[in-house]
């Protein structure tokens, strides 16, 4: 079992009258000796969801089948698994018997054969696929994970159906989403991934699917702790402005709060392997007087139900401006990175709706922020959508022609952040 640590970075000194307290929390799970190959104590369950709608025909389905076969190969002996083929309904194509089956050489071979027999036909109903996975995984103890591959829009059900399916799946399994080609909708898959604590990414070229699927399954198999929650206490009269995961990517946890008592709430962060994530917490409190010291937040890490480490977010009011104006590097860095993600998404949205001025301003700001933070990956993606004239001031011009795949790649990866050097 990995060892968890929680570190807190902030400037606790506030000027008189200030009410917003900011902190960056770094949670690190360090692998224990010999942990590498060990599965989670409660076991792991994996469901692979592959889109077999009519549009997947040809090269896309061929590559998707290959990727699925490779993914099945990565499922560890002893893990439970199933494969769902999705069109306007969901079909469990393996195992034939109800429920999941245990992975071994025989079952992996049989599953592979079932995948090879798939053909493309029918529509797309992502909510129905998730519903099917929820039925398979409900009540299964341990680390439950799904990977969802699609190439299209969720056309054959209502948006409300998808919403319902996401909330039913919340807490049952985590889901990483992959869009192949350029006919799917980033916002739709992002909704699934955010709701189910997973990632979303584009696989513009189906040839890249196998490597990507393998990586996703290996990461899922590497998880050793099924459930880690951030439990946040804050004083009477305070308000949580936000709690966001800010590294490795931005994801707003604020609305996921589950109340423990009137002053305390839990925020689920899903399963953990040996890894490190950063969170940005902002709390609004009643301002104190000069010389007052307040505990504005107490963050306790709850690992599989057990408290494992805590961080104190403090507020000390001072009339010493040298102290209160000091900028905390971590907080400033992630404030910028979150603004970067917002600027990209708003800029692309404006560009789609033909609002050139807003698009230019937002994407220009994004270029400036990416340059300032040394986020070269994002800067390179931006340069495919705008002509950068001056990264320092954010002066850009929208490109007349942009490959759809480039735009979607920028959108899906806008939430990926770069960590600050310590």
């Amino acid at each position: 079992m990995p060892t968890f640590t929680l570190e807190c970075f902030q400037n606790e000194f506030l000027p008189v009258g200030a009410s917003e307290v900011n902190a960056v929390l770094t949670v690190t799970a360090a692998a224990a000796e010999g942990d590498e190959a060990r599965a989670a104590p409660g076991g792991a369950a994996e469901v692979i969801i592959i889109d077999t709608s009519g549009s997947m025909g040809g090269a896309k389905l061929r590559q998707a089948k290959q990727a699925t076969s490779a993914a099945i190969d990565c499922i560890r002996d002893g893990a439970q698994f199933a494969v769902i083929a999705g069109d306007h309904a969901a079909h469990v194509i393996y195992p034939a018997s109800p429920g999941l089956t245990e992975a071994n050489a025989d079952t992996r071979f049989e599953a592979d054969r079932a995948v090879r027999a798939l053909e493309a036909a029918g529509g797309t109903a992502i909510g129905a696929w998730l519903q099917c996975a929820t039925e398979l995984l409900a009540g299964v103890a341990g680390i439950n994970h799904a990977i969802l591959l699609t190439d299209g829009k969720d056309e054959h059900e209502q948006p409300a159906d998808l919403e319902r399916a996401i909330s039913a799946a919340t807490g049952v399994f985590q889901c990483d989403c992959r869009g192949v080609g350029v006919d799917w909708t980033v916002a739709e898959l992002r909704k699934v991934a955010t709701g189910l604590l997973g990632s979303v990414d584009i696989v513009a070229d189906p040839a890249g699917l196998t490597a990507d699927f393998t990586a996703v399954i290996e990461a899922a198999m590497g998880k050793q702790v099924a459930e880690v929650n951030l439990r946040l206490w804050s004083p009477h009269g305070s308000q949580i402005s936000f709690l966001k995961q800010v590294a490795p990517e931005v994801s707003d946890l604020t609305p996921t709060r589950v109340s423990v008592n009137p002053l305390t709430g839990d925020y689920a962060t899903g399963a953990w392997g040996a890894e490190s994530r950063d969170y940005h917490l902002a709390i609004r409190v009643n301002p104190g007087a000069v010389g007052d010291e307040m505990l504005a937040g107490r963050v306790t890490l709850i690992v599989d139900g057990q408290p494992s480490g805590q961080g104190l977010v403090k507020a000390i009011w001072t009339d010493d401006t040298a102290r209160s104006t000091k900028i905390n590097r971590q907080v400033a860095h992630y404030t910028g990175q979150a603004e970067l993600a917002d600027a990209i998404q708003a800029g692309l949205e404006a560009r789609k709706s033909g609002d050139i001025d807003t698009a230019t301003a937002k994407l220009g700001r994004a270029v400036q922020l990416a340059a300032a933070a040394g986020n070269t990956e994002t800067a390179e993606l931006l340069a495919k959508v705008v002509d950068v004239q001056d990264p320092a001031t954010g002066r850009v011009k929208l490109k007349a022609a942009v490959a759809e795949a480039d735009e979607m790649t920028l959108d899906t990866r806008s939430t990926k952040t770069k960590r600050i050097g310590r």
């Binding site: 206490w233 804050s234 004083p235 009477h236 009269g237 305070s238 002053l263 409190v285 104190g288 000069v290 010389g291 007052d292 010291e293 307040m294 505990l295 504005a296 107490r298 104190l312 000390i316 009011w317 001072t318 009339d319 010493d320 040298a322 102290r323 000091k326």
Partner: protein, 358 residues
């Protein structure tokens, strides 16, 4: 000034209360007491930091106070023992320290020890802009006291012995603070120090930084004056010919030119010795007092004749005066009448915030 009602909520407050019982408001002038010695009967077993008390701010019940001393309801840090501390050595000496009104914790530390014919005392003021100043002052004061303790044994220290002991004490204090390393904050932990040995016919003093010693003469016709010279930019300016008023108005007036800490370099303390002075009082104090009352005559007024008879009353009056004047910084004073008034069996009594607010 004696408070009878809380300026925040209007509830009546007893003399000597540090905090309003009703709303937890910190009372600006808690130390003026008609009879301080009876008001501070030490409690049998001092409670732990905060102890089993309701929240000093919002009144939440004691069980809401967390182990790390925050209120589980309003979040406020509960008063620390170090927020206010006093030592009453009867007629021999007294010391008092208080957080003041503008700083969130007390970063000053004092140490005092005595026999019935001599006293050693140390006062340190942690540098606020450094990391963990409260640890720096505590480490320095403890190390210096340890080094001075031989002065309490054997024959009374003479001029040369006192000088040598003070030299060692400052060196040990410097080592102790330097041992705290660079710290994890922006600046290396640092502190000032002023230390004294008061014995038969000898008053010896050493200082680094801007914590001071004053001589307050008993006979009004004698001169009262500072016994130490600050290591500060203001002092440098005064030496260079700038008028004191102008020197203390400068932006960097309080910037120290010497301090104890890992980054302090070579420390050679300024040591001075008074031999057989006329009757008077040695006052050690941090800048939390002298910022408000820089002149020896002002301090003499605050002593109000209590020096020789009741040092604790004088110490409390000085702290209370600094708090009333705005309490801009932590305030610490040590009052030692000289020549020493032999005491039958000096039993030092220690009081902390919790004792004063049972």
């Amino acid at each position: 000034m004696i408070l009878t009602s809380c300026p925040e909520c209007g509830a009546s407050v007893r003399e000597g209360e540090l905090f309003c019982e009703a709303c937890g408001h910190r009372l600006a002038s808690p130390l003026m007491q008609s009879d301080p010695l009876t008001a501070t009967d030490p409690v049998a077993a001092p409670p732990g930091d905060g102890g089993s008390q309701a929240c000093a701010r919002c009144g939440a019940p004691a069980e809401e106070i967390t182990e790390d001393q925050y209120c589980g309801r309003c979040g406020m840090r509960q008063p620390r023992h170090s927020d206010h501390r006093e030592s009453d050595l009867g007629a021999l000496a007294a010391a008092a320290t208080d957080r003041g009104l503008r700083h969130h914790r007390n970063e000053d530390t004092y140490e005092i020890a005595c026999t019935d014919d001599r006293i050693v005392a140390v006062l340190c003021d942690g540098v606020s802009s450094s990391a963990t100043p409260e640890l720096a002052s505590a480490a320095a004061a403890a190390a210096a006291l340890q080094a001075l303790s031989p002065a309490l044994e054997g024959p009374c220290p003479d001029h040369d012995t006192a000088r040598a002991l003070l030299n060692d004490a400052i060196a040990d204090a410097q080592r102790a603070v330097a041992g705290l390393g660079q710290g994890d904050g922006p600046q290396t932990p640092a502190t000032t120090v002023v230390a004294a040995i008061v014995a038969e016919g000898v008053i010896a003093l050493a200082n680094v930084g801007d914590s001071r010693a004053y001589w307050l003469a008993e006979d009004p016709s004698e001169i009262s004056r500072p016994l130490t010279v600050d290591d500060s930019c203001a002092q440098d300016a005064i030496v260079a010919g700038v008028e004191p008023e102008q020197a203390y108005a400068a932006q960097d007036a309080h910037t120290l030119t010497r301090w104890l800490g890992a980054d302090a370099g070579e420390i050679a303390p300024t040591i001075s010795v008074l031999e057989n002075p006329p009757p008077g009082t040695v006052l050690l104090c941090s800048d939390g007092l002298w910022n408000h009352f820089p002149e020896a005559d002002q301090l003499l007024d605050l002593l109000a004749g209590d020096g020789p008879e009741r040092p604790i009353a004088a110490a409390r009056r000085m702290v209370a005066a600094a708090v009333s004047a705005g309490g801009e910084d932590n305030i610490t004073v040590i009052v030692i009448p000289a020549p020493l008034r032999p005491h039958p069996s000096p039993e030092p009594q220690e009081f902390t915030h919790a004792d004063l607010h049972p």
